[in-house]
Assembly symmetry: C2
Homo-oligomer: 576 residues x 2
């Protein structure tokens, strides 16, 4: 029988750890680990300091002269605090959190703040629960912001519809830091009680609230900030960022896969502004994670763009930690977590060693093995059974009425209004596009046309469809469209490139239809192969065959979007 | 019958307030108050900004162009956030919290963090409760750090003995920010479980822990910081401060009545260090509060010593607010409290208007009236009955054995070891000193001698006796000593100057024997009069007749102290 720990028992347990820390710090006992002769970044005095760094109980206990049971000589290297990603949707890596952790550990990241917005749009609060379990005790500390916009818009048909009360109990979880990006800025500044009550509830729990409000200015921005939104990661120009910073918002400088704002915002990395700035990626796709890196890539790029190294490093660790009230990390000082990154020098910025709570987790790119978090069988089963849609046939896609045509724009996710069509015309690059509601077996299929995608044969389908993750398909004929969608359903989610009824490439994404059960490198290989197959089938070079599609169903980006109810004009806010 | 508010009811109440804030911020409704044409300090962008500042529901809702039900034109003035005192013992003002609040409001202070260490040494947890009630809803927001050292040392006979469990329930109070200055640094670095468990418990409640460790260096300092002590206000030289700051402690630059460190620490007020610095007073005596001011005085002095004004102002408000996680104050930005100070300019720094939550509380030195907090009759009665000591006679002070002589040092609170004496010798300035235990009727009276005090006739007694607040008396004869002590007891506490059995001056301090029920100006007049009478009776000019005495019983300051058990040698840690 397990006995619940008493308060006195808990204090006594923590006391004993603390007394050990004190014994080691004062030099009376040996440290568990000492980084000898370290040159380290001091984020408090904004300088490089020198000395041994001693660790006990997973915590830094002191800097100075120490001896340890294990000693690592870091002469000539630079020791930094582990990095924090202030805002990411972990699902965007397409892999499970353990695989994600392995990838970012190698790049020096020891804490990420994730918004499980994608999986929650599929699985509702079970999605939050799944991600909490899938990240428990990972050597990258994964903290959560609760999705604020499920569904993302009233037009979306997602897997759940969450009000403030639905997410409320999660605020008590020790790894929940607050409410994630409040995308519905229009709702906030126009006193929409549903969205504002979510902010109010997060505040009532003394939690943080992140923002998402590109281009908001003046009194509207005042209203959004006054409502209680403490940060923004959508600034793509400096004036926008400074206006928000002046009103007290923290600025998350975003440099990810889909959006890259560092170059525009690098002037913020100076004495005047840096205290209010941190880094985030928002989305990191597999190849980007594997090839470029993570927060280390941002720091390196910031330095190359002229930022002072210590300033950039503060934004990469300390400032995010303070914002999220994670006051035991983001610095090398007594009492802080033993989360370290050892690099060669600021110019090359090669990551040699990464420690998490004093454990060496990555040695020159080789990541140590660690336990896979156990996930409740109910949740595993739930995550692998998220498709509720009947088998489709060509007839489901046949339609005689004229429908709007989404015009693709090379290198962008916006679309143009390319008029109407009532049939596929491959020669003129008029293809059919459809979104199939897949959460609740409603039978809703929205039809339209697309121009500029370039596909010459077969069909391409994906279950990554922001933000509701229905199935989106583009085809040169209805039979292949039906076959591609059926195959996605059969896989419990994924990406399918198909011709004449036969898949030519597949990326299975069986976890909620948005993440894979396979290793990151495997997923990346399959994805790159599928991309190649899609290009081979004619997809235009300026278009990412899958990511661009994933955004065509998000009814907040101009001009035309395809929804489960048909083509929607974002500018006029009407179905056309 | 009062009905407990449901969670849904609470959220709805807060939502309605928030929607009003949004309506005003967006310009759709009039503000309650607008400061028109403001030039204000922006602590985020570190510059002066310009615009109207609008307030609703006591909160700043926006800066820009606004109209209000009430408008105050502040053209040509500078608007600052209200000031915070990061560490004070409010009892040191000798008046009740309402009187204290009136005094500091006039100087632009809108939040203070108090450690009710003095009253708690008298009344135990009832003292904490008394101060919480006496500060409820004051227009100066009074936040608490729970006394960590009651009694201050094992040698003290104070009114209570508090372990971690005794103060634990107070952490749930919404105005308790953590554990107050951990003075027993020796205990911490030597793994004293009793003091360390207090730190552990405060951490378990996710609260702050303040420090007090003058001169601690090296691995001892590491141990103290690693134990979980987040700040220090005892730095009197720059190297000490930088060593602590480098280890992650926040530095409270203290400039109060008894200790003044600003001049030594003003170099911290620069870009490199300021983020980790704030201001505090620790102790402010009546005349000092009335004549010099409070945090405004520190800012003004810092500017005169060369600090950049905006840097000094950040230390006076924003940095303390962030440290204590009071994230709704210390800045002029949407969502922050409408706590403002309007000054003429940075050079003269005259405070013209002070607003608390959007209410004008001080207009050119005239403080608006406000309600006196109601205090539980039990606590009021308890606070006024803290003397438990029988009537004394000259015989109680007669002693034939030789006792140690405390040597007073002009302008200091340290003493020298001035040998032994077995009798009073007024001609040689050898007077008798005694401490009378007064909390528990133990009959303990510690006797000794004192040299350098200068009194030529009668006796001086006070119940302000750091930190246990027993009664201390110095006399030229035993009969007057007994009479002075009896009079202190009769008053339920206070300061008495007496000659030939008749008081020549008195300062009644009937609240726990350390605070008055009278207005600050009255207390100040009585105190100044009593001082004059003491000097008239011969007290040496370099000695503060009462404050110096108050410290002679604190057995942590070298060389000799007088305790309820006799003369104690701090250096050899022995009774002599």
């Amino acid at each position: 029988m397990s006995v619940k720990e008493s308060y006195a028992g808990k204090i006594n347990r923590k006391l004993n750890k603390k007394l050990h820390v004190i014994e080691v710090a004062s030099g009376r006992e040996k440290a568990d680990l000492v980084l000898k002769n370290a040159t380290y970044v001091n984020v408090f005095s904004n300088e490089l300091c020198h000395g041994d760094i001693a660790v006990a109980e997973g915590l830094i206990v002191g800097m100075g002269e120490y001896s340890g049971i294990e000693e690592v000589d870091v002469t000539g290297k630079i020791v930094l605090p582990g990095f924090l990603d202030a805002h990411i949707h972990l699902e965007s890596s397409l892999v499970n959190p353990k695989e994600f952790a392995k990838a970012v550990l190698a790049h020096g990241t020891t804490t990420v703040i994730t918004d499980p917005h994608e999986i929650t749009n599929v699985m509702g609060t079970d999605g939050i629960e799944y991600m909490l379990q899938a990240t428990e005790d990972l050597p990258v500390d994964v903290r959560f912001m609760l999705p604020s916009c499920v569904p993302a818009t009233p037009l979306d048909e997602s897997g759940a519809n969450l009000d403030y009360r639905a997410i409320d109990s999660f605020y008590d979880h020790p790894r929940v830091q607050g409410l994630a990006e409040v995308m519905n800025s229009y709702g906030v500044i126009h006193s929409d009680a549903e969205v504002v009550s979510k902010i109010v509830a997060s505040q009532a729990h003394h939690k943080k609230i992140d923002g998402h409000a590109p281009g908001l200015v003046g009194n509207d921005l005042n209203a959004y900030v006054a409502a209680g939104v403490y940060s923004d990661h959508e600034c793509s120009d400096l004036d926008d960022a400074i206006a928000k910073l002046q009103r007290g918002q923290f600025i998350m400088i975003r440099e990810g896969t889909a959006a890259r704002n560092l170059e525009a915002l690098v002037p913020l990395l100076c004495d005047k502004y840096v205290e209010r700035c941190m880094f985030c990626t928002d989305d990191k796709h597999p190849s980007d994670l594997l090839e470029k890196g993570h927060i280390d890539y941002i720091v390196k790029k910031a330095i190359s763009l002229g930022a002072e190294p210590i300033t950039a490093i503060k934004a990469a660790c300390h400032n995010a930690a303070r914002y999220f009230l994670l006051n035991n990390r983001g610095a090398i000082a007594p009492g802080y977590l033993g989360d370290f990154v050892v690099i060669d020098n600021f110019d090359d910025f090669n990551i040699e060693l990464v420690f998490k709570r004093g454990e060496l987790m990555c040695d020159h790119g080789v990541v140590a093995d660690f336990d896979t978090p156990e996930i409740d069988a109910y949740l595993v089963n739930r995550a692998h059974n998220t498709f509720h849609v009947k088998e489709l046939s060509a007839d489901d896609f046949i339609d005689v009425r004229p429908r709007g045509v989404l015009g693709m724009v090379s290198g962008e996710i916006i679309t143009t209004d390319a008029g109407y069509s009532d049939k596929i015309d491959v020669a003129k690059d008029i293809l059919k596009i459809a979104v199939i509601e897949r959460h609740k077996n409603t039978g809703h299929i929205g039809l339209g046309y697309i121009k500029g995608y370039g596909l010459k044969s077969g069909a391409v389908a994906t279950s990554i469809t922001h933000d509701s993750h229905n199935i989106i398909v583009v085809g040169t004929n209805e039979a292949d469209m039906a076959a591609a969608v059926n195959r996605v359903v059969e896989l419990n989610g994924g990406i399918v490139v198909l011709k004449d009824g036969v898949p030519t490439a597949e990326v299975p994404l069986a976890v909620a239809g948005i993440m894979s059960d396979e290793p990151l490198t495997t997923v990346n290989e399959k994805l790159e192969y599928a991309k190649a197959k899609a290009y081979e089938a004619g997809v235009s070079k300026g278009i990412d065959p899958f990511m661009t599609l994933s955004f065509t169903a998000l009814p907040v980006i101009p001009a035309l979007r395809i929804t489960t109810r048909g083509v929607f004009d974002v500018n006029s806010q009407q179905y056309i």
